[in-house]
Assembly symmetry: C2
Homo-oligomer: 326 residues x 2
């Protein structure tokens, strides 16, 4: 069987089973946003993401500082989804030999801008040559609270909520790859959403403080990531399409397609979480960003999207998976 | 300027200067074998290495278990060179969609074989698609001794020593890429040396216990890596060619070229270290592998290789550097 037939998630499941280890310190192994283990005095978190030219970003469209920002941001977002604090980053760069040194330093400038905003130290990495740009960032963090957010603790009856607005990153990718034209405000918002997402680090910590146990960051798409929570927690989920906080500029620019971008586009790096209504009310009061309830966890499995009348909507493909066509 | 003009090491120096951070916990940032920072109760170590098809390994020659072993081994070797204990690994895989799932699982089998020998847990990673195989492994470890081996503490008058024998990995690469034929014993040894190096973890810890302060693992080549110690410690080094422990099978197979393979070939993953003769004698007594004195640290800079009469030998290019031709 080829990996294109098994798919990214099938392959992860298979490798996770192989790598099962007898390690009493290990709290979360393969299959969550980040790995977690018991450190000397706090829970240690570690995550890695590859960022490969023409796979994760279109060549020649991103500026180098944007690439640096995003390659780090997606990892900080994984730490945010555990409720942790990012501390250190290792940056592995593979570059074509004809790359300009100035481009590499401005890539670092973009990465360092975000790193410094969050007190993250770039402590190491490696450099090699390659036929295309490959950026691989590892982020180490911790959670002094002795608790973390996981994907596997959702329970039927809990509400599903999301931070911020959705769809702008997917709108950015559509705009850039299809060369769509919008007004300056929308153009700037979509580009920023795709290349310079804001990892929700403070919000992840706030969720943990307020008693939330289950969260994931939206990287593959709201429905695909909700499905990850469902699979890990052995529950189903029902999302009310009308309640999904679609970014208003996306609605204005994309009309009927906006909902699809918000549900399946991915890369918004907002936090998707589940909790009781009491806990979610506390989160709403404490959070400095919008927090919107979009549905509920139910017994069973799979993610259903329903319209105002409760009728299921067919969303087709639910999100990004490597090795399968989008 | 292009990165091919600045070179790998120049680029690392440049980025290290940019990434300088005000972080009192950081002990070693960019530029040593691994990053190190003060954890809650021990020094934390972290290292990452990319392993890219046709750059780090020739396509179609390595078996998948060998690839898995080596991608992890080079990182464990970096932890060994700090005197630390490796604990966790994150594995980032990028694969062409037509890759066979069985190949990926046997890659994991090779990696897990080595991981389990050293009590290392594969705790996470990520998977994506790419036009060629890219394996990126991060290893986290620690040093409970509150001390680590670094590159920057060598002093004039110290002796230079190396574990094991050198040249077999470079012999393996020559054999595989040039399709050279040797007897079965040499063939097996050269292939194993190139694809399944043994990280010197116990030896790294032993060096630290016996009072060694300066070490590096031989990845780019003895002379290139010794030059890294020299640069970091602001000292020079003199190596006596006759004392270099060239692998006997390499001598037998390559004759006069064997010394060059041992000095500049790299990828042997032996430990190169400096210390007083008293400390090195203690290391020799305690070590279960050969430990050979090959020269001494001197004031000044650069690495000189001398023959039996003390006359300098010109070794040409001293080792592997990315972006420059070998």
């Amino acid at each position: 069987m080829k990996v294109s037939e098994l798919g990214e998630f099938g392959l992860i499941d298979l490798l996770a089973k192989m790598a099962v280890a007898e390690n009493e310190q290990l709290i979360i192994g393969i299959g969550d946003d980040a790995a977690a283990w018991q450190g000397d005095a706090s829970i240690q978190l570690a995550t890695v993401d590859s960022f490969i030219q023409d796979v994760h970003f279109p060549a020649g469209i991103a500026s180098w500082p944007e690439l640096g920002w995003k390659a780090l941001a997606v990892n900080l977002s994984d730490i945010a989804a555990m409720g942790g604090t990012p501390r250190y980053a290792l940056v592995s760069l593979a570059l074509p030999p004809e790359t300009e040194v100035d481009d590499v330093t401005t890539l670092y400038t973009g990465m360092l801008e975000l790193a410094r905003q969050h007190g993250v130290t770039i402590a190491g990495g490696d450099i090699s040559n390659a036929p295309m740009v490959i950026i691989n960032v590892t982020v180490l963090g911790n959670s002094p609270k002795k608790q973390i957010l996981t994907r596997s603790s959702a329970k039927p009856g809990e509400l599903i909520a999301v931070t911020g607005h959705l769809g702008a990153a997917a709108a950015g990718l559509e705009m850039l790859t299809k060369k769509l034209k919008f007004n300056p405000k929308a153009t700037a918002r979509f580009r920023q959403a795709f290349f310079k997402p804001t990892p929700r680090i403070a919000e992840g910590q706030l969720l943990l403080e307020q008693g939330v146990k289950t969260a994931i960051d939206i990287s593959d798409g709201l429905l695909a990531d909700l499905n990850q929570i469902g699979k890990a927690s052995k529950v189903g989920a029902k999302v009310e399409a009308d309640r999904v906080p679609v970014e208003p500029l996306v609605k204005a620019a994309f009309g009927d397609k906006a909902l699809e971008l918000a549900l399946t586009g991915g890369e918004d790096y907002e936090l998707l979480f589940t909790a009781s209504s009491v806990v979610i009310d506390k989160v709403k009061k404490a959070a400095s960003c919008p927090v919107t309830v979009i549905g509920e966890i139910i017994a069973g499995k799979g993610v259903t999207v329903v319209d105002r009348q409760g009728n299921p909507l067919d969303m087709g493909k639910t999100g990004w998976e490597h090795f399968t066509s989008r």
